[in-house]
Amino acid sequence: MSVDKTTVAKIARLARINVPDDRLEPLATELNGILNWIAELDEVNTDNVEPLASVTGHALPMRNDVVTDGNRLDDVLSNVPEGASGFFVVPKVVE
């Protein structure tokens, strides 16, 4: 598996990362290096092996349906560039 310049541009756009045009080709080369390295795993025969979700053997822990959190407006809004009347305020987004 390998990626070309167009794919890198697309991934960058989806991730909202601004990549200048002259960086696309070098990035593709770097990413392909990583992909090729990981592709070495393809040499292992995994027929009849169940996908492994966790090495710990734990089951998904569950919580009871009890309200234990909330009412912490100051914490929640502590990093906002802009807030008003308890809301986050962002540049207008209407699709």
Partner: protein
């Protein structure tokens, strides 16, 4: 096929599938301990998990999982003992994580089915493809400021069930019947309050058209419809729009559309070229979710009687029509009211009084069954008075109106106002004699062949009696006097 739509160039078949988002009834959110309640102050029900602060980890709410399983059981669906949570990646201001935790490949509930009942009493089974659990997003307000949007994360992370149907519906009426039935089942189960106005239940509608028995056409998806009326209007609009485009030689674009509630039209939201690439992958913060067959069995054994079961009973044991039985069983409260009101009474007559008079009066006064002035026992009492001949059906309507206004009992009102039906044949005979004597000319006409005058005499006698004469006795005695002499 009566559901075909006729265009300029021939008939078209409509194909509809629905994705319904139902908010799970729970105290806390799907992956955090913040409250899932509606109507709090902005950002009050937000934990650091919901706000996606770095390092926060999701822990699933067991009750939300159980609610999804109960719903799956209510839809006669396969419950998957192992299911997986995935990340659906996209950027939006009301989604602080940058992804929605959802289930993509391995949902908790697989295939099931749901039976809809149409107005003519006919039924159809609509396939359910899957049900999965996912997080709701926050709420954006765009009307508070000219250049800014305001974001409230109270709804962020509340548990949703996305219930996906098969493309089995063939008309807007069937789609509405499907949503109505689904809402009914969710409310019986107590897994979603079904409140469409508050957004607890909303539907995305997939619509395409094709020639009867032809290959499937290209579909469009209209998002976020929160009333039965809007669902039907959006479908009607899409069907007409698509047929016109195809008949004009054009092609349908596969796209997401928005419904404008003001104009009843749909418009492009985003097209396929610009379609979101969600890059689903298993959420590394969450292990696969395992439930045991014992847990599922315990949930199944505690399920309430569902609308279809009650409906079958009302039709089978009580002889109600398919339509009446459906109307009565749509809401659990209505079914309970009916069972209490009709206990020991004429079951069909009670059904009739409920669906016509009671629902009519409730509608007109804007009241619901919850604050209905007439208790089920009192409605039963009224029907009892009709059944035993104490009052006529016509008088009963007046008594009913009085009961609805004052909350008094039927017998009390009948006594108080002296409305008891006159079933004394002597008294009725006297009334009839008076009417015949006062209308000698019409008696002659009737006997001369004007049969239709019979109704006139009945009307006069009923009028003279103040509506209290027993109508069947009036008919009987009148006929013997007019025809026998």
């Amino acid at each position: 096929m009566s559901d075909l739509v006729t265009g300029r160039t021939g008939d078209w078949e409509v194909v509809i599938g629905l994705e319904v988002h139902a908010q799970v009834s729970s105290n806390a959110k799907l992956f955090s301990g913040a409250s899932a309640s509606f109507g709090s102050a902005p950002n009050e029900n937000v934990s650091l998990v919901d706000a996606a602060m770095p390092g926060m980890l999701p822990v699933i709410n067991r009750e939300c999982v159980y609610q999804a399983i109960r719903t799956g059981l209510g839809l006669k669906a396969q419950i998957n003992l192992t299911s997986v949570f995935d990340r659906k990646n996209y950027f939006y201001a009301d989604l602080p994580q940058g992804y929605q935790i959802s289930q993509f490949k391995d949902p908790i509930v697989g295939e099931g089915s749901l039976r809809i009942v149409m107005a003519d009493g006919s039924t159809r089974d609509i396939g359910i493809e899957r049900l999965h659990l996912e997080q709701d997003a926050g709420k954006s307000m765009h009307d508070q400021h000219p250049t800014k949007s305001y974001i409230d994360l109270n709804r962020t992370g509340v548990a949703l069930m996305e219930i996906v149907s098969r493309p089995d519906m063939r008309s807007a009426a069937e789609a509405a019947a499907y949503v109505r039935k689904l809402r009914s089942i969710l409310r019986y189960l107590g897994t979603c309050d079904g409140n469409m106005e508050e957004g607890s239940l909303r539907a995305d509608v997939n619509v395409s058209v094709r020639r009867p028995n032809g290959p499937l056409g290209t579909r469009t998806e209209t998002k976020n419809l929160n009333s039965l009326r809007f669902i039907q209007a959006a479908i009607d609009y899409e069907v007409a729009r698509q047929i016109e485009i195809i008949e004009d030689g054009g092609a349908i674009d596969q796209e997401t559309r928005l419904f404008d509630t003001g104009t009843g039209t749909t418009r492009t939201m985003r097209s396929k070229e610009d379609a979101h690439d969600y890059r689903y992958f298993p959420d590394p913060d969450l292990l696969p979710m395992i439930v045991t067959q014992d847990e599922v069995d315990a949930l199944a054994s505690a399920l309430p009687e569902l609308p279809d079961d009650i409906r079958d009973r009302l039709m089978g044991e009580y002889g109600l029509s398919a339509y009446d039985a459906s109307v009565i069983t749509e809401e659990r409260d209505t079914a309970r009211y009916y069972e209490a009101a009709s206990d020991g009474r004429d079951r069909k007559l009670v059904a009739n009084w409920m669906t016509v008079e009671l629902f009519g009066a409730l509608n007109k006064s804007g009241k619901s069954l919850e604050n209905c002035p007439i208790s089920p026992e009192k409605l039963g009492e009224l029907v009892g008075l009709i059944s035993d001949g104490t009052i006529s059906g016509r008088i009963a309507k007046d008594v009913f109106a009085d009961m609805f206004e004052t909350g008094k009992g039927a017998a009390a009102i009948v006594d108080e106002k002296g409305l008891k039906q006159v079933s004394d044949s002597g008294a009725i005979e006297t009334l009839i004699d008076q009417v015949l004597a006062a209308n000698q000319d019409k008696v002659e006409d009737y006997r001369g062949g004007k049969d239709k005058l019979f109704g006139f005499f009945v009307g006069q006698v009923m009028k003279e009696s103040g509506g209290q004469a027993n109508p069947s006795m009036v008919n009987q005695i009148l006929r013997s006097k007019l025809d026998g002499a």
